[in-house]
């Protein structure tokens, strides 16, 4: 239904796409950009791009990966263009006493510190649950490159956790 409406360029499809995929697109963009306003722009831009170019889409199954691919590339483009934007989070003024919270902050900070394309690979694989092949296609690279990026990212996460003994214990029980 949505794909047909998209191919027919029926304006009401925008609302439908927004309802179905808007949050997820925003999630992908936000996790890459770490900027809420930027992520919202990416959502709008992605859906308008889909509306413009959806005429060629045939396979309904391809819609979600296609949208998230557009969103990823938009977010990476934004980051490259405006990218050396500094975003800092509000954080507790003293260290948290909640190990889960500490670990969450630690994991997120490591993900944020990853190079942009590696971070995009992590977001697509672990947030959007893309298979490695789809991640590779979305980023215009090879599956081997994506696997290497994911391994490297997990390695960094593991090393960061190893420096925080309580988190490591929580993770490995």
């Amino acid at each position: 239904m949505t794909v047909e409406a998209l191919r027919g360029r029926r304006p009401e499809v925008l609302g439908d796409l927004l309802d179905r995929y808007g949050r997820e697109i925003q999630g992908v963009a936000y996790l890459i950009l770490r900027d809420r306003a930027g992520a919202e722009d990416v959502v709008v831009d992605t859906l308008l791009t889909a509306f413009d170019r959806g005429g060629s889409l045939r396979d309904p199954e391809a819609l979600r990966p296609w949208l998230l691919r557009i969103a990823t590339n938009r977010a990476l483009a934004v980051r490259r263009r405006e990218g050396r934007v500094v975003h800092l989070q509000v954080v507790p003024e003293t260290a948290s006493r909640d190990p889960d919270q500490d670990e969450r902050i630690l994991l997120l900070s490591v993900v944020e510190a990853l190079p942009a394309r590696m971070r995009a690979a992590v977001v697509l694989r672990y947030y959007a649950d893309f298979p490695v092949r789809d991640v590779a296609e979305a980023l215009g690279t090879s599956e081997n490159t994506v696997k290497t990026q994911l391994r490297e990212a997990l390695g960094r996460l593991r090393r960061a956790l190893a420096d925080a003994p309580r988190s490591e214990e929580a993770l490995h029980g």
Partner: protein
């Protein structure tokens, strides 16, 4: 084996990422989306109408010229393109249109020809983010990317002004070849630059060796951009990646779009206390050629922006370019400051690049040093 995939870590990462994204409020409404879609369609219709109108003018003009040439003695000598009109924006202005720090991948121009021209220039493979900035006089030009990269020919009416086309969506990273084709009808003169923004292209780019004074260290994967950071007494947090317990929110700093203007994000700023050696500029791992660091009181910067002038900034003497320049060695007064840093660096295989950033910090007075032997936690 330490970096092999780890199902438990992967599951934890999944949970954390989802929780982080789900915590974000979703504020976009369908009405806003439809309004912007309608705006886009209207802009496109206007462009099409302009094109039709200019095409009609050209048909009449070409008919007239054909009639005149039929009535005049014929010449078999091909007419060379005429010189470019002075009214076309310079290459420098075209580059500036996309933003400072862009690298030129292609730079081309052609004067008007009575017969029209089709020109193929350059190769834009391997660049992650591209834009074409161009200007033309006359009727219109058509741009397309050839090879197995997909860009349908797009016709642009000539306005004489600068036009930008973002090519970021093009899937040309793995294309075998991707030259740019410019088709200009009779009487059209054009000038264009293709610009790559950020990153180091995987394909070979014209290489500029660093100057002998450059301070070089091996280039890492992350070495394309310098990072700017704060050092506290415990560890380095880069500005880009900060966000853990060390800092309170200080807002958003954006790189300057224009080297001549200071930029301060309008978002209200809070303060950050810098302890210990306050600020480190870490150039990553690359060959740094120059640093230019200027510090001004933020109030002066804002006043200068409001007045459209340049604030009086104190240039900081940097003895020699070095990796990880420590601003604490410089004169850093306390208070609400805007720091502008311009660094030019070079990474292997790519030309020199310049990055300009301004950010704002509140530098607190140094904390009193506890007497020797005092317990730092429970003095």
């Amino acid at each position: 084996m330490a970096d092999e995939l780890d199902p438990r870590l992967e599951a934890r990462l999944r949970t954390v990422l989802r929780a982080e994204a789900d915590a974000l409020p979703f504020a976009i409404r369908g009405g806003e989306l439809e309004r912007r879609a309608a705006e886009r369609l209207r802009a496109r219709s206007r462009r099409r109408l302009m094109l039709l109108a200019s095409a009609a003018v050209v048909v009449i003009a070409v008919g007239g010229v054909a009639l005149l040439s039929f009535m005049s003695p014929r010449s078999d000598v091909a007419q060379p393109p005429s010189p470019l009109p002075d009214t076309l924006p310079s290459f420098e202005r075209l580059v500036d249109a996309w933003g400072r720090g862009s690298r030129q991948v292609i730079r081309a121009e052609l004067g008007a020809s009575p017969a029209g021209t089709q020109t193929t220039v350059g190769d834009i493979r391997g660049f992650p983010d591209l834009a074409i900035a161009f200007a033309c006089t006359g009727q219109s030009i058509e741009l397309r990317v050839l090879g197995d990269a997909a860009l349908d020919p797009v016709t642009y009416p000539c306005t004489g002004g600068i036009q930008l086309e973002n090519l970021s969506d093009l899937r040309i990273a793995n294309a075998a070849q991707a030259p740019l084709q410019v088709t200009a009808p009779a009487g059209v003169a054009w000038r264009l630059v293709v610009l790559a923004d950020g990153g180091v292209a995987p394909s070979p780019a014209p290489s500029t060796s660093p100057s002998p004074a450059a301070d070089c260290v091996p280039v890492s994967a992350d070495g394309a951009f310098p990072t700017f950071g704060i050092v506290d007494s415990i560890e380095l947090k880069t500005f880009l990646d900060a966000g853990t317990v060390t800092y309170r929110r200080i807002g958003t700093a954006k790189p300057e779009g224009d080297a001549g203007a200071w930029y301060v994000d309008p978002e209200p700023w809070r303060s950050v206390e810098l302890a210990g050696p306050p600020l480190v500029l870490d150039a990553g791992t690359s060959c740094v050629q120059t640093w230019d660091i200027r510090i001004a009181r933020s109030a002066d910067v804002e006043a200068a922006i409001a007045a459209g002038t340049t604030p009086a900034a104190e240039p900081q003497v940097v003895d020699a370019p070095e990796i990880g320049h420590n601003i604490s060695a410089l004169s850093l007064p306390t208070g609400d400051l805007t720091i502008r840093v311009e660094v030019t660096w070079w990474t292997g295989g790519g030309p020199a690049a310049t990055e300009v950033r301004s950010f704002r910090v509140f530098v607190a007075a140094p904390r009193p040093t506890p007497p020797a032997g005092a317990d730092p936690v429970n003095p």
